[in-house]
């Protein structure tokens, strides 16, 4: 039911996002959903003249995802949020809070999203 959807891969992610930027699309946000079996859907939402275009990427949650914060600086907050919520690692984040955007050092459980996970205790 999501209109204007384009399926992309990890390899094509940064290229497709760069195309969006060249096309004058404004980055709105991404949405992430745990789809089970250790995978998640990340949908990147872009807007131009009130028309939304969505790039859908299915990722393995234990593998790093290339950051698009180099293309769209504003993505840094969203990627840091997803690190906190889903334990997905983003490579190349321009400002990496290291899963501490929302959480304090002493917090060992991610209390926010569907895939509640224990963080590794600090040594």
């Amino acid at each position: 039911m999501i209109e204007n959807q384009i399926d992309i891969t990890l390899e094509s992610l940064v290229g497709e996002v760069s195309k969006m930027k060249s096309d004058g699309q404004r980055m709105v946000t991404f949405s992430c959903t745990d789809i089970g079996d250790g995978q998640a859907d990340i949908i990147y939402h872009f807007d131009k003249n009130e028309v939304l275009t969505n790039l859908r990427l299915t990722v393995d949650m234990d593998k790093p995802v290339p950051s698009i914060s180099g293309v769209y600086f504003a993505a840094l907050l969203i990627e840091n949020e997803l690190q906190d919520q889903f334990d997905i690692k983003f490579d190349g984040l321009v400002l990496d809070f290291g899963r501490k955007l929302y959480l304090d050092d002493e917090v060992t459980i991610i209390p926010m999203c569907n895939n509640t996970k224990a963080m590794k205790p600090k040594k």
Binding site: M1, P111, C113
Partner: protein, 358 residues
């Protein structure tokens, strides 16, 4: 001069909510700003696991008190679209009326807080006094001043009688008259102009590239307004996005001031066109599928992504609030400003940490 890091917030007199920005300053000039969030994060998205999709209306209303009605409207519109429910036309008009009243009281609240930020307390008091008229309307028509709880999946739970409509029109007209009486002060006063013109400039290109939303985007010359998507009754209302070109604090405050008057006009248009009919369509079954809905809140574009799999609990509710989008633009406004201007610049995006840390 040596560089110093000054913490702005999380407790600061100008902000009722805990926004924390680390300011790297040299002398009294800000060189860099680094945000820190998480002081009051509530994990409301996770509540979708244990609150069914009807109960989630009450949860999303509490994402933000000031735009509670618009949050629930956005959420309900998404669920209705997934489930193929056709909302009665009267309910769409009623939703529009309450949402524009919310925009009015939110902007009046902000205009008062903004005046207070640069020390103009008499102006603060005047805006909040006018705002009370709108709060009284909310209380009289929904039973609550802030969390109105009128939206349900399929429509609304409250109606407006002809007497209520007449009274709302009269109160809105009086509010507009009173707002116009202080128009000269907020737009032309020496102190206001000195503290806001040329301060915290965000160019059109920066606003667009950094994903700004709402008055922050429109104050920089981009005519983007989600009401152009014609949701609810906006397809029948006559309006144009309000845009200012300068991108400074003055431009953003002017957009909000003009939008307050615009919302009053939209309330009047919606009441004039209010059709007869049912308040809600029946809702059967559970949502199955994915949906993205967007609405225009007082602070800007709000996006909901929802996914259901035919159960009463949604698999995912993702809420992108406008303040979250306006934090990166804020980081572009702060460098090279004077330390004394930081509260004014931060307030100029109308930060809502309640929304950001939903």
């Amino acid at each position: 001069m040596a560089r110093t890091i000054i913490p702005f917030g999380p407790q600061h007199p100008v902000l009722p909510e805990p926004l924390h920005v680390k300011l790297v300053v040299e002398d009294e000039i800000v060189l860099e700003a680094i945000p820190a969030l998480g002081y009051v994060h509530r994990g409301l998205e996770k509540l979708a696991e244990i609150r069914d999709y009807h109960q989630m209306i009450q949860v999303v209303e509490r994402v933000c008190g000031i735009c509670s009605n618009i949050h629930s409207m956005c959420y309900c519109q998404g669920i209705e679209e997934i489930m193929g429910i056709e909302v009665p036309r009267r309910a769409e008009y009623l939703r529009t009326i309450w949402s524009e009243l919310h925009r009015m009281h939110s902007h009046l609240l902000w205009l008062g807080l903004f005046a207070d930020a640069f020390g103009f307390e008499a102006l603060f008091m005047q805006f909040w006094r006018i705002r009370e008229r709108i709060m009284d309307i909310n209380e009289a028509t929904t039973g609550s001043r802030v969390i109105t709880s009128v939206n349900i999946v399929g429509g609304v739970r409250q109606d407006l009688t002809p007497e209520m409509c007449s009274w709302i029109l009269s109160e809105v007209d009086t509010a507009v008259k009173e707002i116009k009486e202080i128009q000269n002060t907020i737009l032309n006063d020496y102190t206001v102009c000195a503290r806001t013109k040329g301060v915290g400039v965000l160019t059109k290109e920066q606003a667009y590239d950094l994903g700004a939303a709402g008055p922050t985007l429109r104050g920089s010359g981009v005519a983007s307004d989600m009401r152009l998507l014609k949701y609810a009754a906006f397809d029948k209302l006559d309006f144009e996005p309000i845009v200012e070109q300068d991108g400074d604090c003055y431009a953003r405050s002017t957009v909000r001031f003009r939008e307050t008057l615009q919302s009053a006009e939209l309330v009047k248009q919606a009441i004039a066109g209010l059709p007869q009919g049912d308040l809600a369509a029946p809702c059967k079954g559970n949502p199955e599928g994915e949906i993205i809905t967007r609405v225009e809140q007082p602070r800007g574009e709000c996006l909901y992504y929802m996914k259901g799999s035919g159960k009463k609990f949604l698999d995912r509710v993702r809420i992108r609030t406008p303040t979250f989008a306006n934090v990166p633009p804020l980081l572009a406004m702060l460098p090279n400003c004077e330390l004394a201007d930081v509260p004014v610049i931060i307030l100029s995006i109308d930060p809502c940490i309640s929304c950001t840390e939903r």
